[in-house]
Amino acid sequence: MTVHGDNTPLTAETLQKEILGFLTERIKTDVELDQDLFASGVVSSMFAMQLVVHLEEAYDIAIVGADLKLDNFRTVVGMSSLVLRLKGDTEAAGNA
């Protein structure tokens, strides 16, 4: 499943919108861009893993090792930065 079309450029804004959409659909609660999802108890233990699997599948990235830190998943803004950085790494590697 890839939610993001290949033709639209991936920006922080579109990413945040897509991640918010995924969260709202799955947890049926409105969340803010900078809301701490773990502190507010929005993210259950089962959903924490789903989030990683979803981001990997939707954006064709691998999130492993040190990238799995809490701070990268705490907020929607954090997750979108992580995806953008890993997409950048993938493309840089692909062009090398």
Partner: protein, 371 residues
């Protein structure tokens, strides 16, 4: 369909032979057998070939796990633990840690994983064990209960809190590190030869390279990722218990005479056999689905792992009781395959999320499907 795993199965079958009953009674597995299986990558067969593993899919590894589960649940438990640790390293370790430790786990080194604590069983959020940065390394303090496989392990993976914050960490702790105190669980009710132990960690110093990804992961993400692998593995292991019970019960029903006819001619016995077959097939379907979701990286893979584990463990526990009932005195001696199944399957309803914890997770999901 050619059976890709026929050689592996034959190899393991040859190693185990008819010895599982004696291992159960003695409460110990032969360590050389574990090292032999480990060195062939069979204890964590999903490790990718690029890290020295067999690179099996979840489905293939599941079938192998069920086969081992049908022979000996203690040995299958060792596979579950080794697999959880390998998967957690693959997921949370950095490049160097994946390279180093996965090579060890497919090269004959043995491991175990510590989640539960005296005050944190089902409620893992109550975990007290803590890893703190100290100089250029880390120090770990705490206590872990009922750690499967510790008796044979070269190192254990300890899940703990990280620093003073809310994050978590997973650390590789060699069993011979100063400050590691291991006490075997004297007489476990089931999986008696799986080497369960309680571990006390008293100011244990670790190099920075032993904390996966440097630590600081969300606790929920860390333990759900690790446990999900364990749940799929246990689900398949219980499918193996069901296969063993079905085989023992049908063989007995065909050959044992009662009232001048074979047991199988009694309708009440046939009802039991039908229910055993249904249980075995239902558990297999749940396992296949969970592994299918795992292999296609579906977002509900963790949920389907819980479902499969709950279905399979429940059926195994009930069917093992049925098998003991059918075999009567023939299966009532400790070490007999159905006697072992009866004790081993009951434990499977407790570990990696008790029946009740599984129900809570599944109920949460059911509720999320409606507005």
């Amino acid at each position: 369909m050619p059976d890709r795993l026929a050689d592996e199965r034959a190899f393991i079958g040859g190693l185990v032979g008819a010895r599982a009953a004696a291992w159960d009674v003695a409460g110990e597995l032969p360590a050389d057998l574990l090292h032999t299986m480990g060195a062939k990558g069979l204890l964590c067969a999903q490790v990718p070939a690029s890290y020295g593993g067999l690179g099996l899919s979840s489905r293939e590894n599941g079938e192998l796990t069920a086969y081992v589960g049908s022979l000996c649940s203690s040995l299958r438990s060792i596979m579950t633990s080794q697999g959880i640790v390998a998967w957690t390293i693959q997921r949370f370790g950095d490049r160097e840690q994946r390279r180093t430790f996965l090579a060890e786990l497919t090269g004959g080194k043995l491991t175990a994983v510590g989640f539960s604590e005296p005050g944190a069983g089902s409620d893992l959020a109550a975990m007290q064990t803590r890893i703190k940065a100290d100089g250029d390394g880390f120090v770990i303090d705490g206590e872990k209960k009922w750690v499967t496989g510790t008796r044979y392990a070269d190192f254990v993976l300890i899940i703990a809190r990280h620093g003073d914050g809310e994050g978590a960490a997973a650390a590789i702790v060699p069993v011979d590190a100063p400050g590691v105190h291991i006490e075997l669980v004297p007489s476990p009710m089931g999986c008696r030869a799986a080497g369960h132990a309680n571990i006390r960690l008293d100011n244990v110093r670790l190099p920075a390279t032993h904390v996966l990804g440097g630590g600081g992961q969300p606790l929920s993400m860390l333990f759900t990722t690790a446990l999900s692998y364990g749940r799929v593995s246990i689900a398949w292991g219980c499918a193996g218990i069901l296969q063993a019970c079905l085989a023992a019960a049908t063989r007995h029903a065909r050959h044992r005479q009662q009232g001048g006819v074979a047991l199988a001619e009694h309708q009440l016995v046939r009802a039991h056999l039908a229910e055993l077959l249904i249980a075995e097939q239902v558990a297999l379907r749940a396992c296949e689905h969970a592994s299918g979701q795992w292999d296609s990286a579906a977002p509900d893979m963790g949920l389907m792992a819980v479902l499969a584990k709950h279905v399979s463990a429940g059926h195994a526990a009930r069917s093992a009781a049925t098998a003991v009932q059918l075999l009567g005195s023939a299966g009532a001696e400790d070490g007999h395959v159905v006697a072992r199944a009866f004790r081993d399957a009951k434990l499977m309803e407790l570990i990696e999320g008790s029946n009740e914890i599984c129900q809570l997770i599944l109920a949460d999901h059911a509720l999320s499907l409606t507005d």
